[in-house]
Subunit: 375 residues, 2 copies
């Protein structure tokens, strides 16, 4: 399914291609987040225009609402959303474990209360795979146990062991039901190298169509995060075959560049949409808070280097007015720009790797981007 | 500026063309409402795709936020919004008079408190014209006094007289400052024929580039409304030249059809956008409340006779999910469909008049539309 097509000479950055039933996507790739079956504020037609290669959805959210059965009856999630590209579905492990007070974990599965109607729900790893098979997503993620930071080594081991047990059961169930889509393994183990190593080794033994790095960006800080990523991609580079590496929930432009340099291939993050709808926009000179007073009489586009329709038609002053006046059009336009901007950003990363100039690109980009942030 | 190009043999319905500096629009026309400088939920790019001929904005709202100066600096409202078609600006009389407790009216002008920051503001009829000249809108409406229903004859006369005094001052001020755009007269007089007649006569004497019917749809009921409209368009039909007749704040599909039959040429209404963003969609079989349970498993488009991108891509079930999940994409998609639907509806009215079949079209349309509403 995954093929590395070019490796950067000065880092672990690489170009690759991942094949799915809904088309290939080129890596490094950034997937915007469509938690409930839509990118917040955008349509699937917008995604096509933007050129988003794929998206991430959340099986837990869609299971609760509208319900797996409705999506299945609609002909699967691709038809339901009218999006024909690759869809990755997160299992919802992270969401369930965010409901700390509302859930109980046993080796058998998780019991939790729906955040929508309070109903008690029990899901096994097999249920979670079945939900994703019913949704018809292209990349399926198993139920895992994500621990918060910091977590004692003892509990991190329990959670990691359980994640592996669940991966084993997920793999067996998935292989009986689906052999067209991909099942990724999720690597847990908190910030402990021994646990991360053990988890990755065993996950590879069980069999994974790609490697998802879980339990990162939970407060551990950049250095610890990059150490863990580097440690794992180093181990992966010594395997016989190439595995796509997916860093879940990452990230900022800096996080993406640093992680690509360490060999990460796929990212998803709510940053472009969450910041967009609250009035913060990405530019090549850093982020701008459009809703702030300095934009009131700023008749320039969000980013003069951007060629999205928002930047060619509207000024910061207009967008600020819309956000200030509570007009959802403002949230829509800035979200559109941000998702477009991230897609062009990741395209430029791929072009830099293709030209053997990734490290230069990374340095130049960050010098410009961070300089303005500090102003 | 206005030319009637064809008259329906069986009613007062007519085709016309109104010229502005930002292009002509064909009548009957329906303008969606962009109170604060955007159609709620849509972009000006969407309006282009939908084929909206023009829009209505509110001078009062834009004066308060972002402020006339900012719009002027941006190069006028057309550039600020990136909309290059005809823009009608309502004076805000209706909005000011909705603030009953917060305003004081004298012949000199109105004193009121800003609904945004509570600041006390005094506006003369001349100020209101100046604001619209600064915005650069194509059709300007004078300050008027709109009374509620019912209002005693005595006060309706006071308000009507004041509306005329203000029209006289507005006309004089407008002619000194702007001779490229149009100033419409607003006809008040509540539900009293004598007052309406007097108002129209005097307004025509003062000079109007179009006739706006104000103070309708304020609770007086269909029969009274249609009587007043019919009475006024009958008077207008006996003038030497043709005046565009604009029925402010109207309406529903039925209101539009009945008013077109009485000789009304232009409409604006928030119905397609307000209903759209709360989950109600227009179809040729009547309105559907998409958020209701029957749509949960309805895998049909909103309207199988509609060719907008929402109807060709998404099902009622998906849209209901989005609205129920609080996703603004749902509000956007249904609003888009509704504004598209209204534009096609008014196009079909024009086509029916062109073919000499307006009355048949009206009957057939309402039979189908109302039948379903009653179900």
């Amino acid at each position: 399914m995954f093929e590395v097509t070019k490796s950067d000479p000065s880092s672990r950055a690489r170009l690759g291609c991942f094949r799915t039933r809904h088309g290939d996507f080129m890596t490094p790739a950034f997937f915007p987040v469509a938690t409930q079956g839509t990118i917040k504020g955008l349509t699937s037609r917008d995604l096509k225009e933007i050129g988003s290669q794929g998206i991430l959805v959340n099986a837990y959210h869609l299971f609760l609402r509208p319900g797996t059965q409705i999506v299945k009856e609609a002909g699967g999630l691709h038809r339901f959303m009218s999006f024909d590209g690759p869809i990755v579905s997160d299992s919802g492990g992270y969401q369930v474990f965010s409901l700390e007070a509302l859930r109980k974990v046993t080796d058998e599965g998780v019991r939790f209360q729906s955040h929508i109607d309070g109903a008690t729900i029990f899901l096994t790893p097999e249920d979670v795979i079945q939900i994703q098979c019913d949704l018809g997503t292209d990349v399926v993620l198993p139920l895992d146990e994500c621990v918060k930071y910091p977590t004692p080594h003892e509990y991190a081991r329990v959670a990691m062991d359980r994640t592996l047990t669940w991966l084993r059961r997920s793999r067996a169930y998935f292989d009986q039901n689906d052999n067209l889509n991909a099942l990724f393994g999720i690597i847990q183990g908190a910030t402990y190298e021994d646990l991360r190593q053990e988890c990755l080794k065993e996950a590879l033994r069980i069999g994974c169509d790609g490697i998802a790095l879980g339990g990162l960006s939970v407060g551990e800080g950049e250095n610890l995060r990059y150490n863990i990523i580097s440690f794992l991609t180093d181990m992966l580079s010594r395997q016989e075959r190439d595995y796509l590496v997916y860093c879940m929930g990452v990230g900022t432009p800096r996080d993406i560049l640093e992680s690509v340099a360490l060999g990460v291939d796929l990212f998803d993050c709510v940053i472009p949409t969450r910041l967009g709808r609250t009035g913060t926009a990405f530019t090549h000179q850093g982020k701008i808070v459009i809703r702030n007073a300095p934009c009131a009489r700023d008749y320039a586009p969000i980013d003069s280097e951007c060629d999205c329709f928002v930047c060619t038609r509207y000024t910061r002053a207009y967008l600020r007015h819309l956000i200030n006046a509570g007009e959802m059009t403002g949230a829509y336009l800035i979200t559109y720009h941000n998702v477009w901007w991230f897609e062009r950003f990741i395209e430029r990363i791929r072009a830099a790797i293709a030209n053997g100039k990734f490290s230069e690109f990374k340095e130049e980009f960050l010098a410009k981007f961070d300089a303005a942030v500090k102003e």
